[in-house]
Symmetry: C2
Subunit: 242 residues, 2 copies
């Protein structure tokens, strides 16, 4: 195996951004916490977080073992894998730009999560429903159009044919954009139906990534965990303004 | 000039993490939005955000011009500057680790911001005071100890003498850790007085960075904008549980 991925076994969450890159790269990897047996399962993940005998303990999943390296933070893992598997530009300007786009998506992801957990990640949704309504309404009215409009503008500017966010070739940022649109479609179908009209390029990119052979095969496989209401993208009808 | 930094002129905000690196590196830079005259001021910053005639428009400040490059996203800028100015390890494992730490601090920073703006960044604090109380209480009880405890553990593990987060040499992550402790001390003096007892290494690191000649000179200069209640770190006594 080339890689061991550690992430919570029942949700797509942030781990999914790593899985998509590993799948598109055709890398051999174990999804450790989803396996059973010795040295696997959630216990193996927790052992890393406890940090004993680990030189560089990650703060939270996902993290990736690659030989002797243990790499945490989603965008950091993607930057590492992107360089190794030709899923990022080689020249400095393109590399920095791809990572910048990824970090902007990471910001968006936090805001998506906080629509259903504006008060505390450790509390149930039911304990912050009222606050969630306020936050989700603001998110859908102001933040979502701003973010999607930004990525639409980036794709429109891509002088070389609008194919991908950072130019003519697929990068890890495109895989993440796919995942964010997929997740938003699940969580906020009404709001996204509206957004689709204004952000045709973003939605077209989602479609192009979805049809890539390795991604299509992955999405159809049991390795793809279905969206559910424990992850970052949750569908609560009362939060989705039509 | 080597660099042009673009950030809002009246707050430390995320721009401060870049300023600290530029100052420690002894780099020549312009803080464009704080200057007046043609091609300066906030108007110059807005022009970049509007994205016309800019190949790779940033989503938000701070962003940095370095020759022909325009680099956005704080952690991305720091990674770039760290490599250029020997404020990051040269080997892959150390580089990844430093960036991982930085991204964990970026996560913490969002949570700090959201203590006073849990509903919407676009609304006034006064319009979300009740929600802020709930969020801040949870943050101080659960999240702050978890984050500071993590960095304390990282410093304790640093086999080579506990001097800096990523080993014996100062990196951009240490400068950011300094800024986060400084900001938290301003925003939550009661909670931080408690935390100081449990996280001695983190606070000692803050002290060591503060005393570095270039940082000390910077902090004493008018280039350092004082903390105020428009930035990320705000002092609202009602949010600071003693």
């Amino acid at each position: 195996m080339d890689y061991q991925l550690y992430y919570w076994p029942t949700i797509q969450g942030r781990g999914e951004f790593v899985r998509l890159v590993l799948e598109e790269a055709g890398a051999r990897y174990r999804d450790v916490a989803r396996e059973t047996g010795k040295g696997a399962g959630v216990a193996a993940l927790i052992r890393f977080l406890n940090g004993r005998n680990i030189e560089r303990p990650p703060f939270a999943p996902p993290f990736l073992e690659a030989g002797k390296l243990v790499i945490g933070q989603t965008a950091n893992i993607l930057q590492f894998l992107g360089a190794r598997h030709s899923l990022a530009p080689k020249h400095e300007g393109g590399r920095l730009w791809t990572h910048e786009l990824q970090l902007t998506m990471a910001d968006l992801l936090v805001e998506i999560h906080d629509t259903h957990h504006p008060v505390a990640a450790g509390l149930y949704y039911e304990d912050q429903k009222k606050e969630a309504r306020r936050r989700a309404a603001d998110f859908l009215k102001h933040r979502l159009p701003k973010f999607l409009g930004y990525f639409e503008q980036v794709l429109a500017k891509s002088a070389r044919g609008e194919n991908y966010l950072a130019g003519m070739r697929l990068t890890y940022a495109d895989l993440s954009m796919f995942q964010i649109v997929a997740g938003l479609n699940y969580a906020f179908p009404c709001a996204m139906a509206k957004a689709a009209r204004k952000c045709r390029r973003v939605f077209a990119l989602h479609g192009r990534v979805q049809e890539r052979p390795r991604i299509a095969a992955y999405l159809a496989s049991p390795r793809r965990i279905p969206f559910n209401d424990e992850g970052i993208f949750r569908h609560y009808a009362e939060l989705d303004a039509g």
